[in-house]
Symmetry: C3
């Protein structure tokens, strides 16, 4: 299995779970849960493919949607076991699946960017956009401000992963090692940031308040 | 008139009406009504064209915007005849025009997907995305959860229409018959689902509640 | 400096400022302010490039993000000097930077559209979409109805600028003069509309009210 296919399957499964859990929190019924799971799984990769001018994999193969539907089914099992008063997106199941999706899609973005001949800079940007794209779209669709704007260690791990991908490559590492290091670093950074409540150094911004 | 041009005109008119009515419900004034009508009419087709890597028709020809503006004008007449306390999107005028747009754009998506050499699977996905794209964008812009997430017989008719398009084609039907059967099935399924309150079989999802 | 590069730098700076100020109003912290500033700056141009099927400049060069970050830094200085109870988006700093971004990006859209061989009509549409794209995306992300739907003299100046770009070109003006006239007209029309509360002639729409 080539590194893209492996990371793609993991990312599709994980983001389908995360997206379905978000939909349940928003009070959507089974159909809405299914659609949002599939859209979350396919959103980042479709954006990635449009940006580098290739026909999105979501249109070209049945595999991606099938994998996403397996993820939705897993999520439905989780949702049915969660007590009514618990917000699903605060559960470890959500946080871990979201972090796995972030990590795996950062790696697919970096792989596609490299394949499309982007500069190292472009590879890092594409890794980040691919990683945060699906979850941001899901948040928008249920009417929430996307997590990428609310938490500093959501995009930051993806940026670090993109840089690591490039660094390993420039040391001569094969693409499977690049992808593995990238995904591992994104996942570890995201989980540690959640566990220890990491934040970037603050430049205090005042004058806020809700709109 | 080739089948694409015919379906495109019908879809642009119908979705311009539907989008304008949504804008009126959201309290937008005449300018907002016009912009949302045009964006709803052009949104699905532009997404379709970007996905198969061609310059969107909305950029290449004045015809599409002109047709959309005719639809906006029709909608303004409807809006002025609606009493103040009625939500326009509960009226038959909205539900029918939205179903016509869904049907016509499913057919254009299937035609473009076939022309771009997509697999049968890709044709069905593109038909669905083209059909639900404009309305979803309109809902997002006025701050509502898109209807595609809230009603199971919104995307489902488009999927069925895409499958019918492929089935008729594999039986040797010409593209005009394919497009007609696709659009007719989408429209009929959507209207019947609204009339008889159809739902997909429920997998009960609990743990919901507003976010 | 060619006209595209000049307009691009001005637009990136101005929209990074405007986007950051919107984020502060929405109560986002320093990281959210930075991300929204960068997304606002890059959003319109990325949409423009995807529509004409070229790899977005935001992926191909470090320059665009660097300029956007300078704009974010300027915005943070402004935000820290604004008293807590003032909504930043009502300040002249916001209104002027937003109008400058609108003007400069209308010019880049017209220049790219001409370079891509679009018809005069397509050039006007691309100028408009490029101009209003970044701000609309920013509004969506913080959960507001985009200004393009709420104010009639937001898209209208961009349309006028696109028409002026074409008119100057058809009189034989070089592209730097086209771009300058386009941007100047957009900026002047937008500021005058704000100052004198201009509106398009009203076609009264009733039946509204919040959804």
């Amino acid at each position: 299995m080539d590194p893209f296919a492996a990371m793609n399957v993991v990312g599709l499964l994980a983001f389908a779970v995360a997206g379905s859990l978000k939909a349940a929190d928003a009070g959507l019924d089974a159909f809405g849960v299914t659609v949002l799971g599939v859209v979350t799984a396919l959103g980042g990769g479709t954006t990635r493919d449009v940006l580098v001018d290739r026909i999105p994999a979501s249109l070209a193969t049945t595999g991606d949607v099938s994998v996403a539907l397996v993820g939705v089914a897993l999520a439905v099992l989780l949702i049915r076991r969660t007590p009514d008063h618990v917000r699903v997106r605060d559960t470890p199941a959500f946080l871990v699946s979201d972090a796995v999706g972030l990590a795996a899609f950062a790696a697919t973005g970096a792989l596609v960017g490299t394949g499309a001949g982007l500069t190292p800079y472009g590879v890092v940007v594409l890794a980040t956009v691919t990683a945060v794209g699906g979850g941001s779209l899901a948040d928008l669709l249920v009417g929430r401000v996307p997590v990428v704007l609310r938490e500093d260690f959501y995009a930051t791990p993806a940026v670090l992963g993109g840089v690591a991908f490039w660094a390993v490559g420039s040391l001569g590492g094969p693409s499977s090692v690049q992808a593995g290091v990238c995904a591992g670093l994104v996942f570890a950074t995201r989980m540690l940031a959640l566990r220890y409540d990491w934040h970037l150094p603050r430049i205090r911004v005042e004058g806020g308040g809700e709109n």
